[in-house]
Symmetry: C2
Subunit: 387 residues, 2 copies
């Protein structure tokens, strides 16, 4: 096992919507609170009413309108409100996009440099941030229990991530019943997003960390078992509970302890979102099978372990078992209604050229767990998934 | 899945002893530090030197002499030193006994009542505690990443537990190489202690929490795989790393999320330590197989799941598979040198009478996950393990 540090101070409150009454004491009454949310689903699923009712004795402001793949431009509008109104505490209500946006907003609100975009584009360290909490209504990104955030600048189609010790929510409510009214497409995206988060920390090479391997496989098995149940019936509370907890555990730092991490699938996928607006999870479903196919020799040991333990693939030659593990994964994504070919989205080789050029311009010449993902591998991966 | 709250703010630093240099910045230089340790193994394994070297610019006091199953009486001596010397920060160095003692010490140091024993015996809430950190040199109890503590009053042979939000270490160093010089007996005790911690949160009844079930099974599988390697060769760094991380994960609250918990094995075992001074883990190895045998109908569903997933027991009738799962578990304990019968320790039915009487006097009439463990079940459990 590799050396590691692990620190995750987020308090999780998991249960039905009536748990929201705890907000009344979790946020001090002296604090002016800004609610930040997205497009309005919180008015339909009862979460808005639950929050307002719990905070009836607090001073509460609101900002609605955070978009999927949240925009820097929108976030900066919220920063202006925070400064003008002297907000003390921000409550993110929604899915990963809203929580990611709030992580950036609370950091930008106290940023002392001239342009908070530098936090994202130049990796300038966040030295302080306003405190914030989250109410999760959509299982997917894990943002509710980590310190990472991904923000897009609409003006330039650029998408960058940052993380900071100041970017952990003070608390996160996980409310499976609030997710029961989600469209199937969002549920499916959430399953695949969580699945690939696990893979970025698992599908590398054996690193003498059998417990974390098994934890990762536990999440994968649960997603494979529970994901289709939630996809078929999003208001199945039990199944949604298991999906939500799995998605949180997929990216709270735990399964990354002591093991190499990859994240090349995400880095390639982000470009497909930036250029074509394809949902984040859908870009991962495209890239992952392609990248594994191109690197199947380098990832052979873990692909065999994954195939055997997660899918029960124990028959055939090593090559056959590796290809079966990749095929099973791609079929799983497709069974949830996620196409896995670029052609399914009308994306052509023109985009591949643009992505490879971007990687070269950014000097991303050797990414992934062992620097195996060169611009050539990026090209091969995307070409493999063309149609 | 049941509703739950989870909050574990402990920062983990996992690696070799040279990680201890990080102590220099983890503890503020303005703080007067008290090192608390046990019998002196830290002078042989290099940890004492590493700590002193890192804290060379701090004001450091020391107290050695915390015993296994730490005594209230000893802890109160340390409290006097803290008050007299105005100590700001306590560093526990050693295994679970030292860390448990320090959790009580830092709480008792700021206790405003007349007798800090009330925290243990009467469950009086801890309202404040000094900050403390830990350097773990013995994988077993999980105390390094939780808020629980078990303390014994030598005068009355009483053993009680407490927990508090103020009892989480600020940080814990997990140093597998410091554990490499442990006697085999302590290693074996650690494996079994961690194993039974998992069982108290797993071997109950199905609760619709498949991810946490799998996490628990992951720890069990890893203990079964790595435990014998460490027992054979405690300085096998890789195997010791896996044991240490498994023991921490066994009792940091994670696998208890959303599931019923039992703890009857611990409550019965504590009495065997109190009356006969038998090592904590060894009492668990005695009690667990007996309790499962007595309650094999009530725990049937989980015993079958455990047998199949952890031991691969899939042949035979349900009754045969249940008995095989119990037998495999008892054999595993014995293979690590832990006897599982009371007779092995010279304990007779006189002690059983005393323990049952204590349970009755304390009104512990129905403990365990569903209140199934009556004084009669306690008697049957111990009588089953007599010889």
């Amino acid at each position: 096992m590799q050396n590691f540090e692990f620190h995750n101070p987020v308090k999780i409150i998991f249960g039905k919507k009536d748990e929201l009454s705890k907000l009344a004491t979790l946020v001090d009454k002296s604090q002016k609170v800004l609610l930040v949310y997205g497009g309005g689903s919180i008015f339909k699923n009862g979460v808005y009413d639950g929050v307002k009712s719990a905070l009836v004795n607090h001073t509460v402001l609101e900002f609605g309108g955070i978009e999927p793949n949240p925009h820097f431009e929108t976030a900066m509008k919220v920063v202006e409100i925070i400064k003008a109104e002297k907000v003390d505490f921000v409550l993110a209500i929604g899915g990963g996009s809203v929580i990611d946006a709030v992580k950036f907003i609370v950091s930008a609100a106290l940023y002392e440099g001239t342009d908070a975009w530098d936090i994202l584009a130049k990796g300038v360290e966040v030295k302080a941030a306003l405190p914030f909490g989250a109410v999760l209504t959509l299982p997917a990104t894990g943002s509710e229990m980590n310190s990472g955030s991904v923000i897009t600048k609409a003006a330039t189609e650029e998408k960058f991530a940052f993380m900071s010790v100041h970017s952990f929510p003070k608390f996160s409510f996980l409310l499976p019943d609030a997710a029961g009214s989600l469209p199937k497409k969002q549920v499916a995206n959430g399953v695949v997003d969580a699945f690939v988060h696990v893979m970025e920390q698992y599908m590398n090479y054996p690193a003498g960390a059998p417990l974390n391997d098994r934890f990762a496989e536990s999440i994968l098995q649960t997603l494979i078992e529970e994901g289709p149940k939630v996809y078929a019936k999003p208001d199945d509370y039990e199944a949604m509970s298991n999906l939500m907890w799995s998605a949180t555990m997929a990216l709270n730092g735990l399964i990354g302890c002591g093991v190499p991490q990859d994240w090349a699938t995400h880095m390639i996928g982000h470009e497909l979102t930036a250029f074509h607006g394809i949902d984040h999870a859908r870009t991962l479903a495209i890239v992952l099978p392609g990248l594994w196919t191109v690197l199947k020799e380098e990832k052979r040991a873990k692909l065999l372990q994954y195939g055997a333990r997660v899918w029960g693939i124990t028959e055939g030659t090593e090559e056959e078992r590796v290809l079966a593990a990749i095929a099973k994964t791609e079929e799983f994504f497709q069974s949830l209604g996620l196409p896995t070919k670029l052609g399914d989205y009308g994306v052509t080789s023109i985009t591949i050229d643009k992505i490879v050029t971007r990687f070269e311009q950014r000097q991303w010449k050797a990414i992934g767990d062992r620097g195996l993902v060169t611009p050539i591998v990026v090209r091969q991966t995307l070409e493999h998934q063309l149609a």
